[in-house]
């Protein structure tokens, strides 16, 4: 079937099988490899993208389901090579180690900054429940996102 998806503001169109997963379309058709394939069961969050502004796990969604919606991947968070507040904070605080989970935390952190009124430690920790990191122990990641939220709101 012919599918056209809008990813990071750009249209990608291709003939794919109906069973094609969104994560596979993003990686193999659009060539955006920042969205990772991790557990494949919706637990780890490495495949997280924003769909019409809401966080979704692209390994649990068919590409056909996303037609007509706006998708933002980790590559779409930065503008003109400039990292967004969450990415910058994760980098400055050296919050990530191997980086496999970077897409999930960057996407989720960006959603938190844009949608949560309350961005204290406990709230951020609870919101990040769907993203798994196997290196850092979470503390530096949570602190980086809390810091990013503080800085954003100061500005």
């Amino acid at each position: 079937m012919r599918i056209r998806l809008n990813i990071n503001g750009k249209d990608y169109e291709s003939d794919v099988e109906p069973r094609t997963l969104l994560v596979d379309f993003i990686r193999d058709v659009a060539g955006l490899k920042g969205t990772h394939i991790g557990c494949e069961t919706g637990s780890c969050g490495a495949c997280m993208v924003l769909l019409d502004g809401k966080p979704v796990k692209s390994c649990l969604m068919l590409a056909a389901q996303a037609e007509g919606k706006k998708i933002v991947t980790v590559e779409g968070l930065s503008e003109g090579g400039k990292l967004n507040a969450v990415q910058k904070s994760l980098s400055q605080k050296k919050a990530l180690q191997c980086g496999f989970c970077a897409a999930g935390f960057s996407i989720m952190g960006t959603w938190i900054l844009e949608n949560e009124q309350d961005t204290d430690y406990e709230r951020v920790k609870s919101d990040l429940a769907g993203v798994v990191c196997r290196c850092s122990g979470y503390e530096p990641i949570i602190n980086a996102i809390v810091e990013a939220a503080k800085n954003e709101r100061k500005d």
Binding site: P18, R19, L21, G45, A64
Partner: protein
């Protein structure tokens, strides 16, 4: 990489289109959010000939509050994460929200729909227990018309509901309740993704009088969602009699398949959750 089996895919935007199309296929899979369904496809637990995406049906993406009937209708396409901002502030809605917010994480709740959570028939699903406890009805549509079924009577066995081929869950409706206390507790084994027991309870207490008290249970220990009738109790000092009845209920349930020697454990979990719920809703 886990790849689903091959199937056709159609997107439906109108209810009439659904009724016209659904009979054309022998084993259709209806999805709205598709979180669990896509996972089941990937694991090849199900092999439909067509996947019908109903997320575009706007008639199912509504929340209606009928003040005259004191009733709420939640369309089956409403996402679980949306409930937080659109449900009214009555006690029944509070219990439903307590259940909805325990589903997965924000991303899963942003994808998962009310209809999917109710229709799957997984004893580990959260909404059916809360909906059964508040006395909600499932509103089911088909080419022949609309019928309502109490949510507590929707489940035949794990992953088997009373919905027939050609039918679609339009949504769930329930009466708003005010001044009730609510309790929602569950016990699960995380690494097995195994929900042993889920208990939802709601009660209205005035002084020492119990004006109304309802409870529903689900989980792998029970196998399906069951409502427990507690209408005979009218005083909070009957708490021991209530607990006796719950004890009897758990002992009478068929948990005879004890291949793994876990029946005693399951019963203990269920009773602990039930007693905790009773204590929470009847506390002064």
């Amino acid at each position: 990489m886990k790849a689903p089996p091959s199937f056709d895919f159609i997107r439906i935007n109108k209810l009439n289109e659904f009724y016209e199309n659904v009979d054309r296929y022998s084993s259709p899979l209806i999805i709205s959010g598709g979180t669990v369904a896509v996972l089941m496809l990937k694991n090849r637990v199900i092999r439909p000939d067509v996947v019908i995406d109903i997320s575009g049906i706007e008639e199912l993406n509504v929340l209606k509050k009928d003040k005259e009937k004191n009733e709420v209708f939640i369309g089956s396409n409403i996402k679980l994460h949306e409930l937080k901002s659109i449900l009214p502030d009555d006690s029944a809605s509070e219990l439903i929200l307590k259940a909805a917010t325990t589903v997965g994480d924000i991303a899963i709740r942003s994808m998962g729909s009310v209809g999917g959570n109710v229709c799957l028939g997984d004893p580990g699903n959260d909404l059916p227990v809360a909906l059964a406890a508040v006395g909600a009805n499932a509103v089911v549509g088909s080419r022949e018309g609309i019928r309502t079924v109490p949510v507590s009577e929707c489940y035949v066995k794990p992953f088997k509901t009373v919905l027939k081929k050609g039918e679609i869950l339009l949504g769930v409706s329930y009466k708003m309740l005010y001044g009730y206390r609510t309790s929602y507790n569950k016990f699960f084994i995380n690494f097995l993704d195994h929900y042993v027991g889920i208990v939802a309870a709601i009660a209205k207490v005035e002084g020492i009088s119990i004006k109304d008290m309802r409870m529903a249970v689900s989980g792998e220990a029970i196998g399906t969602t069951v409502k427990i009738d507690l209408a005979e109790f009218s005083k909070i000092d009957e708490i021991n009699a209530i607990k006796d009845k719950l004890n009897k209920f758990v002992n009478e349930r068929s948990m005879s398949d004890d291949r793994f020697g876990t029946v005693k454990f399951k019963k203990k979990v269920l009773l602990t959750l039930m007693f905790q719920a009773i204590d929470e809703v009847l506390k002064a």
